[in-house]
């Protein structure tokens, strides 16, 4: 992350990537946990599903954080974290939406 | 105890199997074959000590406790070997040999 010069543009990019890592990464991890645990719960007791998904979620979070700073642009950082987060969140909410319960 | 001693011997072998530490300890560059042999025997000894810890845990404790204690011993031994090659590099081979013998003895005694 060698900056040509440390000006306001550089700081903006860094801040953006940091937000993508911290907030986008968390959203990704949370979506991952919810979606994966729901899927696993089809085959195992729900406490097992929840714990397995949660343990893996931390790795997902770390990977997302790494991606946020490896992506070629800050937009790419957000794309790589927020889009999967929204997708997985939608998967997690899908059973509810289809049943029509609040 | 035996886990620590065996791991100490093993890590020493691996260290001596590296150019830098081989030179510091023995004053001359090791041949490729010797270095590779040292490193391989080191890793082998590590695996052996792990197997001993899991299959025949000392003190009659459970296998999981034995493996945990081995993992702790692994790191303690690594620190000890680093200290040895840093401050007493020329004594490394002798200490390694002594640790190997002491480790096997300790194992036989059930420690």
């Amino acid at each position: 992350m060698k900056a040509a010069r440390v000006d306001w543009r550089y700081r903006l990019v860094i801040t953006s990537r940091a937000m993508a890592a911290i907030a986008g990464g968390y959203a990704l991890a949370a979506g991952f946990t919810a979606a994966l645990s729901l899927v696993l719960a089809l085959w195992m007791p729900r406490v097992e599903a929840v714990l397995t998904a949660t343990m893996l979620a931390w790795l997902a979070y770390a990977t997302a954080a790494g991606w946020a700073f490896y992506a070629r642009t800050a937009w790419g950082a957000w794309g790589g974290t927020l889009l999967p987060a929204l997708a997985m969140g939608a998967c997690a909410m899908a059973p509810q939406w289809m049943r029509g319960t609040p | 105890m035996s886990a620590f001693l065996l791991c100490f011997a093993a890590w020493s072998a691996i260290a001596l199997g590296m150019d830098r530490h081989h030179e510091d300890a023995l004053g001359q560059e090791g041949s490729m074959r010797r270095l590779v042999a040292l490193r391989r025997s080191g890793w082998l000894l590590l695996v052996l000590s792990l197997w001993l810890a899991a299959a025949h845990p000392p003190g009659g404790v459970s296998a999981s406790l034995g493996v945990t204690a081995w993992t702790v011993a692994l790191s303690v031994a690594a620190v000890a070997v680093t200290a040895t090659v840093t401050w007493q590099p020329r004594r490394t081979p002798e200490l390694a040999g002594a640790a190997l013998l002491a480790g096997l003895l300790a194992r036989a005694l059930g420690w």
Binding site: S37, A49, W58 | A15, S75, A78, T82
Partner: protein, 584 residues
């Protein structure tokens, strides 16, 4: 695209990846590095929290050794409690073991109040009047919730901040491994005589890599211990009920028990006081079921149906997995009802992670080894922070000298150009944390002996000494940073810390009868080893203060650009730069 180009591109990609991870490693580590050091150091001390609890309550000296399986111990204590508080509705009795000779009783009356604590003599059941102190539990509670007062109310916020720091540590560990270019070749490489950045980087690498399994375990298990707070999305998705999320059901599943057996009380709930309970048959039944197992604690409460139950919990040190198994009995008839234990694979894994983190399973040898790992981890964080400071100051020095300030003479004392504000701030915080925290811990222990017994709010007074010492060091460090970064900034707090820790056994001798003069002849190893460890810590800190004292390395006359040949001088924070070969 030829293969040559794609190989070049691949290795360039790998380099770009490594560089990005290196940058992330530096900043993830730096942002909350000072907090991480505090968390790691207090966590390390917490491995011995039982011993600290004992040392800080000298009134507990001389308690008789008893067997936890002896039902008389439990019965006498419960009878004494009921005499003192007849309307007790729930009590939890921790039986004595090899690390704590007293009975620890937690109890509460009606409502959803906090538990009160009573320490009791195991033979008579009579309460022990020990001085009011948080003891070793302060290190423990500061470690995971940044507790600042005995009845602190910001514990959830503290846990959140600790969680953020833990996640950053997790990222720093992983990126550190990715960034370390020669992780196998440099495995045992430590060159303290080289001085400057190389020595600091070696120290950081060596303390990081050799104990890596421990750090990964402790960090990951830390994240999992509070996963219900940090990552509840899975629970929310799977444990829905009409009112929202059925967290009671989740907690029950986590502990392998039925939700009705442990009802959560609302504030102001009216609960009936407990009936009289005969503990002998219950404890005997438990001991029989767990042949060879130790009893850790006994508790009595009412379940969701209002029935009085007694729960006997196995000693936490009997296995790796936390929580230990529990046996449920009917309180009035003594009939065995149920065994609660988590047995499914993921829950067991969670339990083992939890248990590894708390290290209740560890005997004396393992405990000291884990303590050593904790010290190395603290050193890893410390050397990382100092390394950043050293690198940055070297870079800005080279930049300044390149800008034409080529007037460094051998007579000018430490003619540093005014370093940028951020650098001086970090250098100051480094001193405040890395030297200030050890000083504050020593002061806390001294306060325990020096504050008069029996005054109001004594426990919080001890904490006030702790935070004041830390605060004063911070002021000192900031003053140094403003005036001019100088090694004196390090020497003074380190020397003060060394002095305080070395003085502890002496203060102990002057204020109590648990000092080395008593404990050594009587072979009371727990008491004696505390005093001896304090002495050793003080000597170590004093030695560090001696090593970094100003004027130790004579000033180098020539401009700082050339890499000087290494002399057998110790690494000190202001040596000129050597180009680093790896890392950020």
């Amino acid at each position: 695209m030829t293969t040559a180009t794609s190989t070049v591109r691949k290795s360039a990609d790998r380099e770009g990846f490594r560089q990005a991870m290196s940058w992330l490693h530096t900043w993830a580590g730096l942002i909350l590095g000072w907090l991480l050091f505090a968390i790691f150091l207090t966590g390390t001390l917490s491995f011995f929290k039982n011993e600290f609890n004992l040392w800080m309550r000298p009134e507990m000296h001389g308690l008789p050794r008893t067997d936890a399986a002896d039902a008389q111990v439990a019965q006498k204590s419960v009878d004494a409690l009921v005499r003192k508080a007849p309307d007790v509705t729930q009590w939890i009795l921790h039986l004595p073991d090899d690390r704590d000779p007293a009975v620890n009783m937690l109890w509460r009356g009606t409502g959803n109040g906090r538990f009160e604590t009573l320490r009791m003599n195991p033979q008579t059941g009579e309460p022990i009047e020990a001085r009011q102190t948080m003891g070793g539990d302060f290190f423990y509670r500061f470690h995971f919730e940044l507790r600042t007062a005995q009845k602190g109310r910001w514990t959830i916020q503290g846990r959140w901040l600790v969680g953020v720091a833990t996640m950053l540590m997790f990222v720093a560990l992983i990126t550190g491994v990715i960034t370390h270019r020669r992780i196998f070749k440099d495995f045992f490489t430590f060159r303290p005589t080289k001085g400057g950045q190389r020595a600091w980087l070696d120290a950081h690498n060596v303390s990081g890599v050799l104990v890596l399994p421990f750090y990964l375990m402790i960090t990951f298990s830390g994240l999992m211990i509070f996963h219900t707070l940090y990552m509840p999305a899975g629970i929310a998705a799977n444990y829905k009920n009409e009112k929202g999320v059925d967290s009671n059901a989740y907690f029950a599943d986590l502990q392998g028990e039925k939700p009705e057996s442990r009802p959560r009380r609302g504030a102001g709930d009216k609960v009936e006081p407990l009936p009289a309970i005969a503990l002998q048959p219950i404890i005997d039944a438990a001991t029989t079921r767990w042949q060879g197992g130790r009893i850790g604690s006994v508790q009595a409460r009412r379940d969701a149906n209002g029935r009085a139950v007694v729960e006997v919990t196995r000693h936490e040190g009997d296995r790796l997995q936390y929580r230990p198994p529990r046996l449920l009995f009917d309180a009035t008839t003594g009939q065995w009802l149920d065994q609660a234990d988590a047995t499914s694979p993921a829950v067991k894994t969670y339990g083992v992670l939890y248990g590894l983190h708390m290290a209740r399973f560890a005997d004396v040898g393992l405990r000291w080894a884990l303590f050593g790992f904790g010290v190395l981890g603290s050193l890893m964080i410390a050397t990382g922070m100092v390394l950043w400071s050293v690198k940055r100051s070297a870079k800005s020095q080279t930049q300044a000298s390149r800008k034409g300030a080529a007037t460094a003479t051998s007579t000018a004392p430490a003619a540093h150009p005014k370093a940028p504000f951020g650098e001086r701030l970090v250098a100051g915080i480094n001193i405040a944390t890395l030297a200030g925290l050890p000083l504050a811990c020593g002061v806390y222990l001294a306060a325990n002996r020096l504050i008069p017994v029996g005054i109001e709010g004594r426990a919080d007074a001890e904490l006030a000494w702790f935070f004041s010492a830390w605060g004063i060091t911070l002021l000192w460090a900031l003053a140094c940073a403003v005036v001019r970064p100088h090694r004196l900034g390090w020497t003074v707090p380190l020397a003060a810390a060394g002095l305080v820790w070395v003085a502890l056994p002496l203060i102990n001798a002057l204020t109590t009868h648990t000092h080395l003069g008593v404990s050594l002849p009587a072979r009371e190893w727990v008491w004696a080893s505390m005093d001896l460890s304090f002495l050793a810590t003080g000597l170590l800190l004093g030695w560090l203060a001696w090593r970094v004292r100003p004027g130790r390395t004579p000033r180098r006359g020539a401009p700082a650009r050339s890499a000087r040949p290494a002399r057998p001088a110790p690494s000190v924070p202001v040596a000129p730069a050597e180009t680093s070969t790896s890392g950020a």
